[in-house]
Structure formats: C-alpha cells, structure tokens
C-alpha cells in the first residue's frame, strides 16, 4: 500500500477559496499559478510530491488568523511550512489544500541576554538564533544537521534534535513558550518565560505535533552559555559491537558527553574522500566523543573518556588539539548525508531509535537486508541517544529501485520497534512513516492520538493524512502484512 493512499478526501472550490483569501491577502502573499506552486510540492523527502491549490505567504499574525478562519469555514486542509527541509514529508502539500508558508515571519523580535532567552518568529533559521546570541556568549543548543536552513517553527513541529541533545536536550527542552493560532483562528500562549505554566503542559504536547494542532506565530527559546572549550576524541574499532560496548562504557562511567556519534565503515568510506577529516578507513566503526565545559572540566573528562575507550578495545585514539582539528573531525560526520549523496544517485535516510545495547543486532540485520534488497546502506548513529540514521542507497531512475528502498526502510523501522525502540527519533512521522505508526502503536493509543487531534482540530483540517494514521489505513496495512505473511514478531507487545 502506497503511503500516499488518499484517505483524507476533501472537496474544495478553488476559485471560491482564492476569492476569499484575496480579501485578506495582497497579491504578493498568495500564489496560485502552477509554476509558483511547484517549489512547494515537496520537502526534504523528495520521493513524495503533491501540488497544493494555493500557497499563502502571510506577513502578519492577523493574516494567519484570517487564513485559518477562512479554511475552517470552507473546510479546506492547511499544511504549515517552514524552510521545507524536513525529511519525513511532513510539509508535503495536500492536493485540495493551502500551504501556509511562515517564510516571511523571519524576525528575531528580542534577545534578552540577562534572562537568557530570545523571542523569534517561526520563520527564523535555527542557526540565526545562535548567531544573534553569540555576542552575549550565549547560543541556542539544539543543532539539527540542517541548522543553516531549517526554521524554528519547523523545529517546534518536529521536536528536532541534533548531535548535542544527549547533554543539552531536544527542542522540547529548549523552548519556553510558543504563541499558537488554532484552526478556528483563536490565539493561545503555551508555556511562559518563567518555569512552566498553569494547567496541562500544552507546550510539551504541541512540540513535535507535526503541524497537526495549530500554527505557531512566535517562539521564546532558552539560550545557554557557550562552553569555554570543546574537544573531541576520535576512536577506531575493529568491530561495531566493540564500538557499541564502548558507548555503554562511557555512560556507565558517569559521563554524559556533549556529543557521541558513530559511523560505520561504508559511511567513513563515503565521507573521507569528500571531506578529508582524517578518519581511519580500516576501522569497522569510528566513534566521536565530544567534551565541553571549562578547560579544567574538559581536561578531566577527556582523560576519563580516553581511558574508557582504551579499556573498551579501541584500536586507535586521537584527541583534537585545536579548534580547527575539532571542526575537521566533526566535518565528516556533519557531511555524511551529502557525502553519501555523491556516491549514489539517490539515498533514503531512516531515523529509528533503539536501545543502544541492541546496536550490533540492528547493524547485522541491516547487513542481511542489504543482500535481501540488493541495495547498499551506510550507517551514521547518534550513539549517545540510540538514534540510527541508515542511509539506503538507490537509483530512482531504475524501475523498482525506489520500491525496494522503501521496503528496506520499512523493515528497519519495524525492527526498531521490535527491539524496543521507535520508528522516529527526530525526523517525525510525516507521510513517510505513517504506515509504521500502525506497527508501533496499538489501536487504543492511536485512538487517544485521534482524540487529542479532535480536541484541537475537530474537522481534521490541519495537515491531514500525516503523523497519525486513520483507522482505515491501519486496517489496510495490517491486513496486507498478514496477507503477505510478513507480520513481524507477532508475539511482541506493540507500544
């Protein structure tokens, strides 16, 4: 069953919609010609594409309210969009709907160095917040790999992570307050600039809700002091199990590193010719372990990490001796996706999380799947928090190739669940993993999600067809799995 199965039919009168929207939006804020709509047909997951009826580019919160009220009255689906860098098709348009782009909400409204917070509009880029805070010795901690382009609004929608989230947390740990417009055009403040807010923790519920519950128009983020020093240890291992054990040993030693990343041999092989980071190409896996803090703290932690890695059987260890060298060590990890993109026409990035101790099992299962599907796969891993990004290499121009990549990915995700993990650690469900939601959650939990959705958006107009599958979809997907005899691990409880 295709993920794009249309289980959210709407019937919208495009001309009537445009007539209404013109009452509120000047021509520069409303796109309806096909050539103007084309750039919005997909997000970072280019395998899924759809043209919307119109794209709105509001410039004020009042216009956002007018657009949402109009869509609510006319029963029109709305897909909010930031920079469109998401990897799960969360911002893929609805064919009968409006794309609400927050691109023009691009102002940093306030940086308060004493209170250590910034108030920004949702279209502000992630990295721009840290740049604005830098003169005060502060920065915004979550750093998804797309941080030069992705927006804070998108980060809120996806609960984005990054390479430093084991120590510094996800978006949900670093956002204090959001201002939200509901589909009915009502404005809500969730959270506050103090600790917590009265009532339910709506902020926690909203973050990561993938544009299903409302549209964010303002965000207050926490800023944290920039550490005085950061240094990274790079260690090589002759097998991935040892590398996985080394990660557990670091945690067991009471160390929470600022970053803890792993790459397997296919990943370093792809990266090294491209970036020349100095990776050990003979190693089956390399680990990057970053320590930050005061110079005294870093020296102490690096010494302990080095000791643990030696005991764990690292074949080679080097410590960055300068900021330039630290950045070079990281450059390879940060360039892993584009580097893989150089050696294959297309690649498909997965995002499962697993308990760290199951890593070796997962990697050996992936190696089997490479043979089964006849496709190669490189693995990069946020080892510290168990978030694995297998990069499945395929060629979209070859018939049947994408379908095999998609099946390969689905098998990885379903194995993640079976190993006690999740289908997505930071990229979101979107349209991509909508079928696997039926695997991770049973009917009562999915019903609870649908109940939450109805509490915010009774008609189901916000980002329909994403994140939470319909009852019908799960029935179809489950039936198909059993029919093909492929239902995995039927004895396991699903949650």
């Amino acid at each position: 069953m295709m993920n794009t199965m249309n289980d959210t039919p709407f019937s919208v009168d495009k001309d009537a919609l445009i007539r209404r929207l013109r009452l509120y939006l000047p021509p520069r804020c409303l796109l309806a010609d096909e050539e103007d709509l084309r750039p919005y047909e997909c997000d970072g997951l280019t395998a899924f594409r759809e043209l919307p009826l119109v794209v709105c580019l509001p410039e004020t919160e009042g216009q956002v309210i007018d657009i949402l009220r109009t869509c609510h009255q006319l029963g029109v689906p709305v897909v909010a969009r930031g920079a469109g860098t998401g990897l799960s098709g969360g911002a893929m348009p609805h064919a009968q709907g409006v794309v609400l782009s927050l691109a023009r909400f691009n102002r940093i409204l306030r940086v308060d160095p004493l209170a250590r917070l910034a108030v920004v509009q949702p279209g502000v880029r992630n990295l721009a917040v840290s740049e604005a805070a830098a003169p005060h010795g502060l920065y915004y901690a979550p750093d998804p790999s797309s941080q030069i382009a992705c927006t804070l609004g998108g980060n809120v929608a996806e609960n984005s992570g990054g390479v430093h989230c084991l120590k510094y947390g996800l978006t949900v740990h670093n956002v204090m307050r959001i201002r939200v417009v509901s589909i009915e055009g009502e404005v809500f403040d969730m959270g506050s600039e103090g600790p917590g807010a009265p009532g339910y923790d709506m902020l926690a519920l909203f973050i990561g809700s993938e544009g299903m519950l409302g549209v964010v128009t303002e965000i207050t983020v926490k800023l944290v002091p920039k550490p005085e020093l950061a240094q990274v240890v790079m260690a090589s291992f002759t097998d991935v199990t040892k590398a996985g054990d080394a990660v557990a040993a670091i945690i067991a030693a009471g160390i929470i590193p600022a970053g803890l990343e792993m790459m397997d041999k296919p990943a370093t092989a792809a990266v090294e010719p491209f970036v020349k980071a100095g990776y050990d190409l003979d190693a089956e896996a390399i680990l990057l372990c970053e320590s930050d803090g005061t110079p005294e703290e870093v020296a102490e932690e690096i010494a302990r990490v080095t000791e643990v890695l030696q005991e764990a059987g690292a074949s080679n260890i080097s410590v960055s001796q300068s900021e330039a060298e630290r950045l070079r060590f990281w450059a390879g990890r940060k360039a892993a996706f584009p580097a893989v993109g150089r050696i294959t026409p297309d690649y498909y990035c997965m995002d499962g999380t697993i308990p760290r101790k199951r890593l070796a099992e997962m990697l050996s299962a992936i190696a089997d799947m490479e043979r089964k599907y006849g496709l190669r796969c490189a693995n990069v891993f946020h080892a510290g928090d168990g978030n694995l990004h297998p990069l499945i290499m395929y060629d979209a121009s070859e018939p049947g190739n994408w379908e095999r990549a998609e099946a390969f990915g689905a098998e990885i995700l379903e194995l993640s669940v079976a190993l006690g993990g999740s289908i997505t650690g930071e990229h979101g469900v979107g349209i991509e993993k909508i079928n696997q939601m039926c695997v991770q959650y049973a009917t009562p939990e999915l019903d609870a999600f649908r109940g939450i959705k109805r509490a915010f958006d009774e008609q189901g107009l916000l980002n329909p067809g994403k994140a939470v599958p319909s009852l019908h979809r799960c029935a179809e997907y489950g039936r198909m799995h059993v029919h093909r005899g492929q239902l995995k691990f039927p004895e396991l409880e699903r949650f």
Binding site: F188, S192, G194, M202, I251, T353, G428, V429, E445, I452
Partner: protein
C-alpha cells in the same frame, strides 16, 4: 493492587459515573484543588519494572516510593536529576502527576523534561502505553510529558519511565550575605556564564549556591565566585527540597513562577527565592498575587493553605476561556465521564 484491579476499579466507576480520587502515598494531599470522590489507592501497585543504568532509564510502577527508586539509582551512581520532593514517603506516580521538582530544576529541568514513557489507565479503563524507554521518540503526540503535572485528571498513571543521569562527582555549597535585589541580579548574571550552578536559595538576606559537576569545574567556580563554604550542604539542600527549611513554615504559602529577571511583584511576605530567581515563595493571604504574577509574565499557585481558601481562590492560576475550553476537550478525550480526580486541577472539570 494489580493492574487488573486498577482497570476494574476505573471501569466500575466509569459505568456508574462515580468520581475516583487517585491516591498514592498521600504525601501531596495539601496540593491542588479539592479532593473528592471514592479513594482509589494505587500505592500498592509498586516495584521497579526495569532499570538499565547504561541506557539511562528506569521504569517503575506508580506506587514505588521515590526513596526506593533513588536508593537503587544511587547504587549505580545515578539520580533523578529533577530532585522531586519526597515529603512523607511520596511515590513516583504522584511525583509525576503533581509535577513538582526540586532545587536542581534550575540546572537539569523539571519532571516533564525527564519523562520518557507512561502506562496509563484512561477514564474508560483502557490501558494505554505512550513513549517508551529510548531517549528520543517523536512518533505520535508526546502524551507522557503532558501527564506531568496533570494531577491525575487524564488517567491513572500506572507505570512511568524516567530518564536518569549520573550523580555529579563533586558538590559544594557557597553562602553569600546579600539583599533580595542583589541576589536576583547576581543569579541572572551568573546564569549567563558557563558556571556549574545546580541550585540556588535565597532567604532572609542570605544566598546559598550549590555547585555540581566535575571536581575541577567546581573548584574553578568556587575560586571565581567567592562566598563562604557551607559545612553541611547536603542537609541544607535536603531541607529546601523537602520544604522543611523554616522559610516554608507558613499556613498560607504562595508559589510564584516568574521570568528569572522579574522585578519585585509588590507583595509582602517574601520568604524565599529559588531557581535562579524564577521561583519565589510568599507567605500569607495575597489578594494581589495572581495579578502581579501575570503582569510579570508568570503565574501564581496557592501552594499550601486551608482547604476553604483553596476552594475560594482555586489552587492554580485561572485559564483564559479559550484555554479552559481546550483543557475540557482534552480532558474529555481521556476521561469522557469526568470521573478521575474531578476538581483537583480546576473546579470546572
């Protein structure tokens, strides 16, 4: 009590539309709105279901005493970083439902920041599993975190999974003599520097700071900050965490959560300041507390008081009509008959 018995009790109450008052150890009966309904004692559903130190999580049934959990964690050199108050034998279910965090919240975050997963019995008696045991999981809405502070109004928390962290290798407490304005200003300036401050407490002209982290970092910070070293930091912070410090001794106690830089709200009876300036405690009747907190961008909770006053004022700051309506819709989706802890969060549901 077993999970099945819990489910049966909720189903029976659901079918007869009778209210249940969920009770763990009963250590926070003083907190929140009115207590009503037939007691559902879940304190007997206890025990640590899973603990994996290197995966940084612990899963425990709701009635498990915090003291038991923290003793098990301590054996592995780990802790609950949000330092919840234990009061008289508090259990982990109540800890999550009330959402109260202790002194380390300043540095580490609150209860919700450590929620990884929950097993919930909803208001119809269904068992629901949300989240899991991994650090990162963005599949589905983050219901686990929503449950922190929900006062048991969305379901009976049968089991929770919490992220745990290593215990800092070194801790030191410093004391400074200073007035309230200077304390707030200093705390905010220090907060912007890479200092390992894990707790702060101001009371009656004195400011206590706790430094936690690597030995080298704590030593360097002590050198930089000055002040006087306190001899018995451990017991001092326990008295703050458990609110046995004399600053908390009042029949009526207001808790103001404010932006850390907020100026004087203009109330008498300031007893203590925690969390780098963001948490302020006032004693006595405070008619102006709610308005003053809201003007400063925060909110005021009537934390401890005679029940009659709490019934009159409401324990928690009132919600806007639209936000209240949203709360009711959410409540209804988890507990359609409104049987779980009615009135414990807001009188309206």
């Amino acid at each position: 009590m077993t999970l099945d018995e819990m489910v049966q009790a909720v189903r029976t109450a659901h079918d007869s539309q009778s209210a249940l008052r969920i009770r763990g150890a009963g250590s926070k009966d003083f907190y929140g709105g009115m207590l009503s309904g037939e007691p559902l004692d879940v304190g007997g559903y206890r025990g640590i279901a899973a603990y994996e130190p290197t995966e940084l999580y612990i899963t425990a049934r709701c009635g498990t005493p915090l003291a038991e959990i923290e003793a098990v964690l301590a054996e592995q050199g780990q802790l609950l970083a949000f330092e919840p108050p234990r009061f008289t034998g508090a259990s982990v279910g109540g800890c999550v439902a009330a959402g109260l965090s202790g002194p380390r919240r300043l540095q580490a975050g609150g209860v919700r920041d450590f929620m990884l997963g929950a097993k919930l019995v909803d208001g119809t008696g269904q068992v629901l599993n949300f989240g899991g045991q991994v650090m990162k999981n963005v599949a589905g809405y983050d219901v686990s975190r929503l449950l922190a502070g929900s006062m048991g109004t969305l379901g009976v928390l049968a089991e929770v999974t919490l992220k745990v962290l290593p215990r800092p290798t070194a801790e030191q407490t410093l004391v400074f003599a200073m007035g309230v304005d200077e304390a707030i200003s200093r705390l905010n300036h220090w907060g912007g520097q890479p200092l390992p401050i894990s707790a702060s407490f101001w009371h009656d002209g004195q400011l206590w700071l706790r430094l936690s982290g690597a030995r080298a970092a704590v030593d360097a910070a002590m050198h930089k900050l000055g002040g006087t070293e306190a001899a018995d930091g451990g017991n001092f912070w326990a008295s703050v965490r458990e609110q046995t410090h004399p600053a908390f001794a009042a029949d009526i106690l207001w808790r103001l959560a404010l932006p850390s830089t907020a100026g004087d709200p203009g109330l008498d009876g300031l007893r203590a300041i925690e969390w780098g300036g963001a948490l302020r405690w006032y004693a006595g009747e405070q008619e102006a507390a709610r308005g003053a907190a809201a003007r400063l961008g925060g909110h005021a909770t009537l934390y401890r008081s005679p029940e009659s006053l709490r019934c009159l004022e409401g324990a928690f700051a009132p919600l806007s009509p639209a936000m209240l309506a949203l709360h009711r819709r959410l409540k209804k989706s988890f507990d359609p008959k409104g049987i779980l802890n009615p009135g414990r969060l807001y009188a309206e549901f």
